[in-house]
């Protein structure tokens, strides 16, 4: 995952926001590198909720190749996606 030039503060803020959403939604503690799809309990419906939530919360559009499931696997990967799209505007 690309490291953003936005700096560690912005990164920590995004990461914490995503973590809060996931923990509220999954009702469990979610570590930054925990693969939320590995357990098999998270569905494509939930993945879509994540897409919509990230778009709304961070004012980005996630489309085309950025919809890859790998981008939504962990809090770290989602944070990387958000920071990158904030800078580049996406595909």
């Amino acid at each position: 995952m690309t490291i953003s030039s936005a700096g560690p503060a912005a990164s920590a803020q995004v990461e914490s926001s995503i973590q809060q959403f996931l923990e509220k939604r999954l009702k469990a503690t979610v570590a930054p590198d925990f693969d939320i799809f590995a357990s098999g309990t998270v569905t494509s419906m939930f993945a879509m909720e994540l897409v919509v939530h990230l778009e709304q919360t961070f004012g980005i559009m996630i489309a085309g190749p950025d919809l890859r499931m790998d981008n939504f696997r962990t809090i770290v990967s989602m944070t990387g996606l958000v920071l990158r799209l904030r800078e580049t505007g996406g595909a």
Partner: protein, 377 residues
């Protein structure tokens, strides 16, 4: 005629003018004149959520829903074409890259017709069983497979075909006239008879690689969930429109037809039918408004709210159309009549874009997930 960019009222007026009193005749003939579809398409009415930046009317989910319900109350076949073209545009918007959006979306708002191809002989409710294949050969993609029951494919210029690609899946935009594509219209569809349902054979169809949306492999469930969400919303609003048509027809008949010395509406058992139709219509509209509000505010709740709206509206329309048939009786029991069409069309709404059973599984899962966290320790 409204320019693309016309608002809800202009698009609804255009649809009313073009459909006129012809829905019954189109149902009996099994086809909508393609000029009607092109004119609706050229106004952006078939995929009205495409933003103005890409040449579309840019309606909100709510306004597009109102338009969809209105068209659905007039002609479910035209509304089904809207659902299919809307999903095709949504696929381009969500799955395509910037260049593909810029190239394809304006075309879809200028009169080019499009359809989506998901289902296969052995892949319906379980679309992950699909076998259609897309493979890369140099600067080309090659598509092979068989698709069934593709709404609006008979009149489509472009087919958005879903298939397996590399280690996942992809959607590819296939011109209907490309060598190796055979579109076989289904002549005897049970409902939405004029919507141009077709089966499609794809045999070694070779296309430039930029026809592959997003240019990369995706997880198949993600592709399906993303594109079907639009279709479900469209079917939900369209089904609410079916209920409006049924409520109007039943109420009109029950006040003009007299039996045993009074209007049908004066007979309590018939009056109950009218009340049930009204409840079903209002339930459907509220569920649709709830879901569209979540689309328009970008709330993650839109995912479940969409499935809920689809379930409430489709089941309500199927039951409501049965009730309306019961009220109209022999007056409505002939092909082409608004209530007879509703009776056949509404049943299909319980099957497409996630059957009742699939929607129920999703909603049941949601109820389990919504349980509070176990606090015992």
């Amino acid at each position: 005629m409204p320019e693309a960019g016309g608002g809800l009222a202009d698009l609804a007026d255009l649809a009313a003018k073009l459909i006129g009193d012809d829905a019954g005749a189109w149902d009996r003939a099994g086809r909508i004149p393609v000029d009607v579809l092109r004119e609706l398409g050229a106004a952006g009415a078939l995929c009205a959520q495409v933003p103005p930046s890409h040449g579309g009317p840019g309606l909100s989910s709510r306004d597009n829903g109102e338009l969809t319900a209105f068209v659905g109350s007039l002609c479910s076949s035209v509304r089904s074409v809207m659902t299919s073209q809307g999903m095709a545009a949504w696929a381009v918007q969500r799955l395509g890259d910037a260049a593909q959006r810029a190239r394809l979306l304006p075309e879809l708002c200028r009169g080019r017709l499009a359809a989506v191809a998901f289902s296969e002989p052995a892949a319906g409710s379980d679309l992950t069983a699909m076998r259609a294949s897309i493979r890369r050969e140099g600067d080309r993609v090659v598509v092979d497979g068989a698709k069934v029951w593709c709404t609006a494919a008979a009149t489509a210029d472009l087919l958005v075909v879903f298939g397996r690609y590399e280690d996942g899946a992809a959607a590819v935009v296939v011109p209907a006239g490309a060598p190796g594509v055979r579109v076989r219209p289904i002549a005897d569809a049970h409902g939405c008879r004029a919507a141009g349902h077709a089966d499609i054979d794809l045999d070694d169809v070779r296309l430039p690689v930029d026809h592959l949306l997003g240019g990369t492999a995706q997880a198949l469930p993600m592709l399906i969930t993303t594109v079907l969400a639009y279709g479900r919303m469209s079917v939900a609003w369209g089904s609410a429109g079916i209920l409006t048509a049924c409520r109007q027809a039943a109420a009109a008949h029950a006040t003009t037809r007299h039996q045993s010395g009074r209007p049908l509406a004066g007979h309590q058992l018939v009056a109950r039918h009218l009340a049930e139709l009204y409840v079903a219509e209002q339930n459907a509209l509220r569920a649709c408004e709830h879901a569209s509000a979540r689309w328009d505010s970008g709330s993650a709740e839109m995912v479940v709210a969409t499935v809920l709206a689809k379930q409430v509206s489709a089941t309500g329309a199927a039951r409501g159309a049965e009730i309306a048939m019961q009220v109209l009786a022999s007056a409505g029991a002939h092909d082409g009549h608004v209530v007879a069409r509703a009776h056949r069309d509404a049943k299909l709404m319980e099957i497409i874009e996630g059957s009742n059973e699939i929607c129920q599984l999703i909603l049941a899962r949601h109820t389990v997930e919504a349980l509070p966290a176990r606090t015992g320790r």
